[in-house]
């Protein structure tokens, strides 16, 4: 079973801080990580390979630094890694990104399954997987919580707010993974030494290598544009309840809530 996994390198949003004076994001020193849901996608692909054999290829679109994410994926056990990078790809929205990734998936070729994470923690759109599936003319199952291969068929448990849907689909298909799907493995020590000390194994695809229509990619080709961005302002009059001890503070709080008829 040959599997292609699309991963994104993202800043760890848990560590993103705001410069209150300029109202901008402080990205310096914020570590880059493999997007968490993408890590679940990769784990599922590796687990399926462990069980059924085959090959796992990882694709990441991004600047040259995104190689770091690919190295980590290789250290986790992926067989090959492709960096999709070109200045022409910069500023792509989900449409353009899905267009480029679909072309990269086609170029890698020979796949049974394509995995993505549900959504990236920087953009939180959850759109690239389904849009890419549409461009590849493949069926999709998003929010995958459990995946079982049953002969020719694949049985998928799709998570929703109101319950799980058990679905049946035949490859090739695009899956998007959620956190509940699995617990991602750590990169192995051996993998780390081989990948980080060894020769560079990462393939690079640029615009020239891909069959994409340039009117559909990059900042110019993206149907949506950022009009403005701003840091949300939150202010409230906070009252810190004082008291001799926690018991007294708690009693004061309960009094206040009762007075406001809140409880």
């Amino acid at each position: 079973m040959n599997i292609i996994v699309c991963v994104k390198q993202v800043p760890n949003t848990n560590e993103v801080r705001i410069n209150q004076e300029t109202g901008t994001l402080i990205r310096d020193g914020v570590p880059s990580i493999i997007n968490p849901d993408d890590r679940n996608a990769l784990e599922e692909a590796l687990a399926l390979k462990d069980e059924h054999g085959g090959k796992v290829s990882v694709i990441s679109m991004g600047p040259p630094q995104a190689k770091e994410a690919l190295k980590e994926a290789l250290a986790m056990g992926a067989d090959e890694a492709v960096l999709v990078t070109d200045r022409a790809f910069g500023g792509s929205d989900t449409w353009a990104t899905a267009t480029i990734l679909a072309a990269a998936v086609e170029k890698v070729g020979g796949y049974d399954l394509v995995f993505c994470g549900r959504q990236a923690i920087d953009g939180d759109t959850a759109q690239v997987g389904p849009e890419m599936a549409e461009f590849l003319d493949l069926p999709q199952v998003t929010y995958c919580k459990e995946i079982k291969v049953d002969g020719e068929k694949i049985i998928v448990n799709r998570f929703t707010e109101t319950g799980d849907y058990i679905l049946e689909v035949k490859p090739p298909v695009v899956f998007t993974a959620i956190k509940e799907l699995n617990k991602p493995r750590y990169p192995s020590a051996r993998g780390i030494f081989e990948v980080y000390d060894g020769p560079d194994q990462i393939k690079v695809y640029t615009l020239e290598d891909l069959d994409v229509d340039v009117t559909q990619i990059g900042l110019k080709g993206s149907p949506t544009n950022v009009y403005k961005s701003f840091v949300p302002v939150r202010s409230k009059n906070s009252e810190i309840i004082e008291g001799f001890n926690n018991k007294e503070k708690a009693a004061t709080l309960v009094d206040k809530l009762c007075d406001l008829k809140l409880i």
């Binding site: 980590e72 250290a75 493995r185 750590y186 020590a189 051996r190 990948v195 980080y196 000390d197």
Partner: protein
């Protein structure tokens, strides 16, 4: 001169840190309280290949070297000194087999202890032979007829002794020659005549089980001899040099862990209307803790570097271990002090770190023995 980690080492440290925080830290207090060997943690370390660091890939190891091993032991010790001890001591067994074993022994045992999830142990100490290893009494007499060594005697304070599948036992094959008659014999768990005696109750590192091993006419095939007869003491001393770097890494981790806890605490803890980190008395404590820990770090990595390069490192390993262990006690003591009453309570990890730190001044050679080793090297 180059003080940089390689890309692989940066990644290894990141992974080890995440592993320690995610898998080890949540159970560290429980392991300490209940005093059980964290078998699952060991299996997880085997799965990632931490147990195979320093052993070549061809024998099922992970590759890597002594610096890599030290990085992992340090990160784990930051969260649980006992788990770090288990890992560090375990790798000594693999190092002995890899360095002194024959091809057959390497093929047979190394894959099991590197990636196979089997624990290895190293048994030298006896009730009357601690620092004075020459007083060891355990014998392994070759029975020419059956082609077996017959072991008799008792080993004590053996880390992982009760859990280990494979044990490197140091015993006299020729008692008349004293230390020159000592050999290294491999014994497997469950061999008739080999039993586990007392499991010690200790002050700290409760997760690292410490056992007494009893040999009563325990027979093992003569193929289990590692290296040649009479070279046991040399093997033991060589292994201990490596083990000392491991203890230094463990002690460094304990100190770094305690320092991290303290830095977090001095930001959070408010007394006299401000976080205590703004008080100069506390600031100076932390400056001392950080400086001495930095010193412990680089002495340890230098010893590991010399070992990796195949250069003499006995003196440097002894210095690194002596310094790092004394620093671990110093730092955990101040860290606990800064935490005040909270530090003394089991809700915070400081009192555990304080207890765990103490062993690093004692095992794999006491501080005093290290001073003997160092002074011998310095004075001549």
């Amino acid at each position: 001169m180059d003080f940089k980690f390689t890309d692989a080492q940066i990644m290894l440290q990141k992974v080890a840190k995440e592993f320690a925080e995610t898998e080890i830290a949540p159970i560290a207090a429980e392991v300490d309280k209940l005093g059980y060997f964290p078998k699952e943690s060991f299996e997880k370390m085997a799965k990632i290949g931490f147990t195979g660091i320093g052993t070549p890939v061809e024998f099922g190891g992970s590759g890597g070297n002594d610096i890599d091993k030290a990085i992992v032991v340090t990160e784990i010790a930051k969260k649980c000194a006992a788990t770090a001890a288990i890992l560090s001591i375990h790798t000594i067994f693999a190092a002995v087999v890899e360095k002194f074993g024959n091809e057959e022994q390497k093929q047979k045992y190394l894959p099991k202890v590197t990636s196979g999830g089997c624990l290895g142990a190293f048994a030298l100490t006896e009730p009357n032979a601690g620092s004075d290893a020459a007083s060891a009494k355990t014998t392994a007499i070759l029975d020419e007829d059956s082609g077996e060594y017959v072991l008799n005697g008792t080993k004590c304070f053996i880390s992982g002794g009760g859990q280990a599948q494979y044990l490197a036992i140091f015993a006299l094959t020729d008692p008349s020659k004293g230390l020159k008659g000592m050999s290294c014999i491999l014994v497997e768990k469950g061999t008739p005549g080999f039993s586990i005696g007392k499991i010690e109750e200790k002050m700290g590192i409760h997760g690292s089980e410490t056992a007494e091993l009893i040999f009563d006419n325990c027979r093992v095939p003569k193929e289990n001899l590692i290296g040649v007869e009479g070279k046991g003491f040399k093997i033991a001393m060589s292994a201990l040099d490596g083990a000392r770097v491991g203890v230094a890494a463990q002690a460094l981790g304990i100190a770094e862990g305690a320092l991290e806890e303290t830095i977090k605490y001095v930001h959070e803890r408010v007394q006299f209307g401000k976080p205590i980190g703004q008080l100069q008395g506390i600031q100076w404590y932390i400056a001392d803790m950080a400086t001495k820990t930095e010193c412990a770090k680089w002495m340890m990595y230098r010893a590991a570097y010399l070992k990796k390069e195949g250069l003499p490192y006995t003196k440097e390993a002894a210095m690194a271990k002596l310094n790092a262990s004394e620093n671990a006690r110093f730092v955990t003591n101040l860290a606990l002090q800064i935490h005040g009453g909270y530090g003394y309570m089991k809700d915070y990890p400081l009192e555990r770190m304080y207890r765990d730190a103490k062993i690093t001044e004692i095992y794999e050679g006491t501080s005093e023995i290290h001073k003997v080793v160092i002074s011998r090297a310095v004075i001549g």
